[in-house]
Subunit: 222 residues, 2 copies
């Protein structure tokens, strides 16, 4: 399978790219608006993996080209770029592809971070609105601390939540998620339930701020 | 210390009453709008504890009387009764007392439960608005599954989150929470951060619905 990380030069994209390249034999593509930046980052990730004895080939492309080649495209961009990014790659997607959105809208004040719910109900719903008809959108990976994900020495041992309206697409993403060592994927239901899932991200950042030893904290449900 | 469970005849009140009576030497009071109902439930809890060899004295009172006697009063009522209940006991509270709110506003549709954020920002904020000046309000225990809490044979081994603007009051509630075996309390910051904490409850209920073996699911942050 080919997995594209659109915005894969950012921190969550980096973490997912490294983990999939390290833990699976899937082909990982890095997308960026700037193909040169994508190629540089891809090379950087290859070097990191090579230093761990993993000979992965990671290629960098402009986002649309990465999406064109991918079976699963993760829209690893800030929430306010989700619509634009999905629209920019829309004509490269078909019904067999899966779009994945890990983005969360947040606003901060002196006391902490707060979930900023988009008018559409969630960022997952925003992405679903921007996606071409028939291309399924799945929300996942919101609650993973980027630093812990990108540090291949760090144990994950955490859960992530998967939301969306297309059962097959969710199954694909669940399987991909669970190929990452130490990651368990749970089903949070359809897109209508995405706001509560996305709300976890500011909560985790607040917990990291107000409790010692909780930097890059994760969640387990049991 | 004396702990009153206002609305202690309901399921979350029952769980906290049983756990505190079982795990600590604190005095537990059951409050209800109907003092007869409170006394009956208190007797039922005593019987349950007695069957486990714990000789606890649990008394039932009308809510205001229970609040009057208590150092810590948990407002264990549905979210739409929080204001009324706090106002009904307001003149029995003083600045040394602590009010605790575990309630969460939710609405349901076919797909699951959703967080229903009150205009005040959170149920914790609603309770704080209704409380007399100087009486601190702490949000806690939202994310505990009532059935698991009330079943003294069930291991908890979960976290709960504490929010509020009064550090001393939060410390009191944190200590009380951690006297319950298997429960760890984490600081989620001030009341402004309560919405994300309260949002966990519908999320957990959705996870229980969409995943096998997750009935009465809890959370650990790590």
């Amino acid at each position: 399978m080919r997995i594209a990380l659109l915005g894969g030069t950012g921190d969550i994209g980096q973490g997912l790219a490294l983990r999939w390249a390290y833990d699976t034999s899937h082909e990982v593509l890095i997308g960026s608006r700037d193909p040169e930046k994508a190629r540089n980052k891809a090379e950087e990730y290859e070097t990191e993996l090579d230093s761990r004895g993993v000979n992965a080939e990671i290629k960098g492309f402009e986002n649309a080209m990465a999406a064109d080649r991918a079976d699963v495209a993760v829209v690893a961009v800030p929430p306010y770029h989700v619509s634009d990014t999905v629209e920019a790659v829309a004509d490269r997607l078909d019904d067999d592809d899966v779009l994945v959105t890990p983005a969360v809208g947040m606003k901060s004040d002196e006391e902490g971070l707060h979930y900023h719910r988009p008018g559409a109900g969630s960022v997952t719903a925003v992405a679903a609105s921007a996606a071409p008809d028939g291309v399924p959108v799945v929300g996942a990976f919101h609650n993973l601390a980027a630093g812990r994900l990108a540090d291949l020495d760090a144990d994950l041992d955490v859960d992530t939540l998967v939301v969306g309206d297309d059962g097959d697409a969710k199954e694909t993403v669940t399987t991909l998620a669970e190929r990452i060592e130490g990651l368990r994927a749970l089903d949070a239901g359809p897109t209508a339930n995405a706001a509560e899932v996305e709300s976890l991200t500011p909560l985790l950042i607040n917990l990291a701020r107000y409790n010692d030893g909780m930097h890059d904290v994760g969640i387990t449900f049991h």
